[in-house]
């Protein structure tokens, strides 16, 4: 046992760097205590929200604090990881609020649901802060294992179990790819810590192969072509609040690590990444055009959004765009996406939970008359997903494409913009259905009042608008 190393590793600085993660961990334990003690079930929401508030507070401190490199450089806390953590907390909160009153048969497992949700959130925070392949892997599993369980949470529904199994099998495959890649990188460089890889020779083919495998396993999590096949099925089958969480949080966490680990990719790979990005956008948009089920449609739209963000990663790998500008572009894009997709999937949740039947474009018809607020906010989310100005989605797209232009990848950027135009085809179809078409006679989706869903829809809509209209404040804070 190296005593000196122990003294260096466990410092007050290290604890403060890990504070958002630790806050979530303590929250998980407190939720278990609440489960154990009789008569304390009413405290559960309080504990959950308190945990998120504490994690948010620590993350806010990091977002405005100095950079800390702790645990022998395997973990960092700086303004970027702070903002990522804030994003994860928001994604968790949105998913949790939309899950209120959603489950019926599974209502007695709500405590477990909340514990799993917090574990996944803790995993995300760990993933974003890790600068070491093994630490990242722990975060990845901490995120994935609860999500496998949550995908199959509705045990009585075949589709939910199918989603859980599919996600598990493919997720295990991706995890194995990651480990294989990490082993190759270790064989090539002799280290697993990203900061010490700068000194190592990264041009060995074994290191590049390892980097490619690691990138592929991350591509699985962010769902880009050709690792996107699981997305529509899992998003459709999983309980809607879990889908909300997966679509926003998982994607963000994988991107948060893809950016620092991109140092492992040689600059020649930029063209390949750009090609994958544009192929993903094309595939996601064409897939979405023919969908009738709303969850599948949003899943395909999520695939195309992942492709858009990958274009910024390609710009960074090519060396043409600075890492800071790419990181800010993706952070901004993802922040807008968390509010937009969170709100959109959340409203699908709200519509679904009343009847339990899948929400289709058909059932959206005439929603403007039944639920004017939902229709208005859903229209806003659709416009933001499509990248219409004055919404957060527009600025995210603008920042991403401008990094591609910085890197002289103008052709790819134009292809990406054209793809966004194709995407408007299906986003506008939703608005047409809600506002201009008569409802079917037996339309029941979206009836009744759901105060929580209303509040969350408004909050997400405000988030989308603020990110679209007042970007200066965020830019200043993100530096």
């Amino acid at each position: 046992m190296n005593v000196e190393m122990m003294k260096q590793v466990l410092t007050a600085e290290a604890l403060s760097a890990a504070a958002p993660f630790l806050a979530l961990t303590v929250g998980i334990l407190l939720l278990l205590v609440v489960e154990i003690l009789p008569g304390t079930a009413t405290l559960r929401p309080l504990v959950f929200l308190g945990t998120l508030a504490a994690a948010f507070g620590y993350a806010w401190q990091q977002a405005n604090g100095p950079e800390l490199r702790v645990f022998a450089e395997t973990y960092v806390a700086n303004s970027t990881t702070g903002w990522w953590a804030i994003l994860f907390v928001i994604a968790t909160l949105v998913a949790w609020l939309f899950a209120r009153k959603f489950y019926r048969e599974e209502a007695r497992f709500e405590g477990e649901h909340d514990v799993l949700l917090l574990s996944a959130a803790a995993g995300m925070v760990l993933m974003a802060g890790s600068r070491d392949l093994l630490v990242f892997f722990v975060g990845l599993e901490l995120l994935s294992v609860p999500l496998y369980t949550l995908s199959g949470f509705q045990r009585a529904k075949r589709t939910s179990i199918e989603a859980g199994l599919k996600y598990f099998v493919l997720g295990a495959f991706a995890a194995a790819m990651f480990l294989f890649g990490a082993a190759l990188v270790y064989a090539g460089t002799g280290t697993l810590t990203l900061s010490s890889m700068d000194a190592a020779d990264l041009s060995k083919s074994i290191t590049i192969a390892g980097g490619a495998l690691i990138a592929a396993s991350l591509f699985f999590k962010i769902s880009v072509f050709p690792f996107h096949l699981w997305v529509p099925d899992v998003y459709q089958g999983a309980p809607a609040p879990v889908t909300t969480f997966m679509a926003t949080g998982t994607k963000a966490a994988a991107f948060a690590f893809l950016l620092p680990m991109a140092v492992l990719l040689p600059s020649d790979a930029a063209v390949l990444l750009a090609a994958i990005a544009v192929a993903t956008m094309a595939l996601g948009n064409l897939g979405a055009l023919v969908q009738t089920d709303l969850k599948r449609l949003l899943a395909y739209s999520g695939i195309s959004h992942a492709g858009t963000m990958l274009l910024a990663v390609a710009a960074q790998v090519s060396g043409g765009a600075s890492a800071a500008s790419v990181s800010n572009a993706i952070l901004y894009y993802m922040a807008a996406y968390v509010f937009t997709a969170g709100g959109a999937f959340g409203l699908v949740t709200a519509m679904e939970s009343r009847t339990g039947a899948p929400v289709t474009i058909e059932s959206l018809k005439g929603l403007a008359q039944r639920q004017p607020l939902w229709a208005a906010t859903f229209a806003l989310f659709a416009l933001s997903l499509g990248g219409i100005p004055a919404t957060g989605g527009f600025l995210g797209k603008y920042l991403v494409f401008s990094t591609a232009v910085q890197a002289d990848m103008i052709g790819w950027a134009i292809a990406g913009v054209l793809m966004s135009v194709v995407a408007l085809g299906y986003y506008l179809r939703l608005i047409v259905a809600m506002y201009m078409q008569e409802p079917a006679k037996d339309a029941t989706h979206g009836e009744g009042s759901r105060p929580w869903a209303n509040a969350m829809a408004v909050v997400c809509a405000v988030g989308v608008l603020v990110l679209g209209v007042l970007p200066g404040w965020f830019m200043e804070h993100m530096k």
Binding site: M1, V3, M6, K7, L10, L29, L32, V33, E35, I36, A187, G190
Partner: protein, 124 residues
């Protein structure tokens, strides 16, 4: 840096070699008299009957997982115990104690949760 793993490689080669050598030696030198008794899965004990693919209660799985969990966790206690002396000598005694108390407390909490949820009851 990778040469540090040479002993593991040697151990692996020894293990595989031992198994292969034994198989080949008995294949080469052993006599072969096939009879009904030898075709049985077990040459002694009760006679095998029925299919081996019967359905087992999922409860066995739960107990097995719980056992593995606590079994592996207890291995970590040994690592702690081995290094605790050095760390105490270096003046880190309160930290070391706090760490293991927190570790065991988390485990205890997990056990209490399993107990309370009825995970340890056999006849349900």
């Amino acid at each position: 840096m990778l040469t540090g793993y040479a002993p593991i490689l040697v151990l692996l080669a020894l293990a595989i070699g031992f198994a292969l050598v034994n198989l080949f030696v008995s294949e080469l030198m052993g006599r072969r008299r096939i009879n009904v008794g030898k075709a049985d899965p077990y040459e002694c004990g009760m006679e095998a009957q029925g299919s081996a693919r019967i359905r087992l209660s999922i409860h066995f799985y739960l107990i097995a997982v719980l056992f593995i969990l606590f079994d592996v966790e207890s291995v970590f206690l040994i690592l702690w115990a081995v290094s605790a002396g050095d760390l105490k000598a270096a003046g880190l005694a309160p930290l070391v104690l706090a760490e293991i108390v927190a570790f065991v407390a988390v485990l205890g909490l997990a056990l209490a949760y399993v107990w309370r949820k009825g995970g340890l009851e056999w006849d349900r």
